[in-house]
């Protein structure tokens, strides 16, 4: 059989590598140090956020800046229900609440022009922060809440689970008819509507599904903090970091946001713990501007461009 050789290569690439990576990641708590476990926890956190951001915004071109809102909803779900229910139930509650919130936001705003959507979603983060502060201070007379703590291993394995599901969903979406619909919306929304795609429904559903992962991650990460208040939970930086990571890595492929997230988390970890702490946000802004100016298709795009030049694949018939 002629295609058997090609097929094996493909099977290895799509299934083999992920399984090997997963085994290495799964065994990390056994052989890794405590520091590495924490570092990889943050790797997973930002990979999940930026990949789930890419699921919707990367393909449709609607820039959502509400990641922090869904993540914060998860954090508050952990604060409110953490003592009453087992962790897995709370994770589901967090994911579901984010789904509902994203569905509502989508239903309100996704008929609007892209730029209004970006503004609205960013406003949502600030609005939730203000309203919850108001609620806590004026009506409940408290500020902030306590969260039940979990061990580092538990947090790591939960994140690993969410990571696997996110990657599978992102992969399936890319390969399915549904993903094709999303892509045609990103390229030309009117044309997509004309060929019979229910544009609004596809957009809203995808947006809501991508929010599930953000909410679930928020629940898990909340158990690392002892105390949360709206300022911690709805930190606008959690909206920007995934966007920057996805753009830096290049959101044309699934691997792009992953690479961007790993590199950036590492930089962040090195900068915020050293003497550069004061300049971290400044550097963050500078890299954001530079990426948009000089790396519009991200690292993956750059690598592809170099690869094409090296392999000479662009040349005409030889």
């Amino acid at each position: 059989m002629d295609f058997s050789k090609l097929n094996w290569k493909k099977v290895f690439l799509t299934a083999g590598i992920p399984v090997i990576v997963l085994v290495i990641l799964g065994l990390l708590p056994v052989y890794g140090s405590a520091y590495n476990l924490t570092l990889f926890t943050y790797f997973l956190l930002y990979i999940i956020l930026s990949v789930s951001w890419t699921i919707f915004s990367g393909t449709t071109g609607y820039i959502s800046l509400a990641t922090a809102a869904f993540y914060g909803v998860g954090i508050y779900a952990a604060a409110l229900y953490g003592e009453k229910y087992p962790l897995i139930v709370v994770v589901l509650i967090g994911g579901l609440s984010s789904f509902v919130l994203a569905f509502l936001v989508g239903a309100i705003t996704l008929r609007l022009k892209g730029i209004y959507f970006a503004m609205f979603t960013f406003g949502l983060v600030l609005l939730m922060k203000e309203v919850i502060y108001y609620w806590e201070i004026t009506i409940e007379g408290t500020r902030g809440r306590f969260v039940v703590l979990e061990s580092n291993e538990t947090i790591y394995f939960y994140l690993l689970g969410i990571f696997v599901i996110t990657m599978i969903v992102a992969y399936l979406m890319k390969k399915s008819k549904y993903g094709l619909a999303l892509q045609s919306i990103g390229e030309n929304e009117e044309a997509a509507a004309h060929i019979g795609i229910n544009v609004t429904m596809v957009k809203i559903l995808t947006y809501a599904v991508s929010a599930i992962f953000m909410g679930a991650t928020g629940v898990i990460m909340a158990t690392k903090l002892t105390y949360v208040d709206p300022g911690v939970a709805f930190n606008p930086l959690m909206s920007f970091s995934p966007v920057l990571m996805a753009i830096f890595g290049g959101f044309g492929s699934i691997y792009g946001p992953v690479i961007g997230a790993v590199i950036f988390t590492y930089i962040q970890e090195k900068l915020t713990t050293g003497v550069w702490n004061k300049y971290y946000m400044l550097i963050f802004g500078a890299i954001l501007v530079a990426t948009i100016l000089y790396l519009p298709s991200g690292l993956v795009g750059l690598i592809q461009r170099i690869w094409r030049r090296v392999s000479g694949g662009q040349r005409a018939h030889t």
Partner: protein, 287 residues
């Protein structure tokens, strides 16, 4: 009656400054197509330059001119360097809008953190024209009246500039359709950079005026940006008179809500924003 005057006049007084900030943003977004999230940071920078000069015994109202000029130059250069190159590389206006929004976010982090490194995060204030005037029984500080008068004067002057001069006509043409205006002989890169510069200058002037009346701090920019976005949406994108009127409307609403419960003022702006997007995304003066 006194309470009513207090709310309405108080709202109009702060509204004058909102108008100026929003006119700047409507130039940047309505014409130059950059939803400049760093707008409030230009404002903050303007207020701190005024504060710094005031410490060196320069009259704050004189600094308005210096701040306006400095920020105009800064805005012009930012547009020519960052945003023009994004614009030329974007395949369509939608891509330009989202990429320039993200670049503006980068600018926001850069400008704000430079200010934090220089001035720290403690609120600063100085006293200027601190006497008060009674209008119908309600007391207002002189400095607030002066600041509002200045804001209105700058706004009116700019409106006349747009309506009467050749450059103003070029800007209005670019607001309608930048590509076509370019084909009609308008130097479009220059005109758009001019708009961005004017927008930054207005934000800076508004910042100077704010520093006359209120305490200033390095993290105050974002809230002003958010207010300006709501006003621009309220007034209609790209409409200078719309932003002018919208600023006063939002000022009065904000002052009424603040009287009722100060903690809800910001939330009320968002609710107005949401209602506008749902009911009339074109705004009051939009076409």
């Amino acid at each position: 009656m006194e309470l009513f005057l207090n709310i309405v006049l108080g709202g109009l007084l702060i509204g004058g400054i909102y108008s100026l900030v929003s006119m700047g943003l409507t130039l940047q977004y309505g014409v130059a197509r950059v939803l400049n999230i760093a707008h409030g940071e230009f404002l903050m920078f303007g207020s701190f330059i005024t504060f710094w000069l005031q410490q060196h015994r320069v009259d704050p109202l004189v600094t308005v001119l210096i701040v306006g000029l400095l920020l105009f130059i800064a805005g012009f250069i930012f547009y020519r360097t960052i945003f023009t190159s994004i614009r030329l590389r974007s395949p369509n206006p939608g891509v330009f809008e989202s990429n320039s929004l993200l670049a503006a976010f980068g600018l926001y982090f850069i400008v704000q953190n430079i200010a934090v490194l220089i001035w720290g995060t403690t609120p600063r204030s100085y006293s200027y024209l601190a006497g008060s005037v009674s209008i119908g029984g309600a007391l207002f500080n002189e400095n607030r009246l002066v600041a509002t008068a200045f804001a209105v004067a700058v706004g009116t002057a700019f409106y006349l500039f747009l309506a009467r001069t050749r450059t103003g006509k070029a800007i209005r043409a670019a607001a309608q359709d930048a590509t076509t205006a370019g084909l009609m002989g308008v130097n479009i890169n220059y005109t758009l950079a001019l708009c961005f510069g004017f927008g930054a200058a207005m934000a800076g002037i508004a910042g100077s005026l704010i520093s006359i009346c209120y305490p200033i701090f390095t993290t105050m920019g974002l809230q002003q940006t958010v207010i300006a976005i709501v006003v621009v949406t309220l007034g209609g994108l790209g409409s200078i008179p719309g932003s002018f009127i919208g600023g006063f409307i939002l000022g009065v609403i904000g002052s009424a809500v603040t009287y009722w419960d100060a903690g809800l003022a910001v939330a009320s702006y968002y609710i107005i924003f949401i209602l506008l997007l749902l009911l009339r995304p074109k705004g009051i003066m939009g076409k």
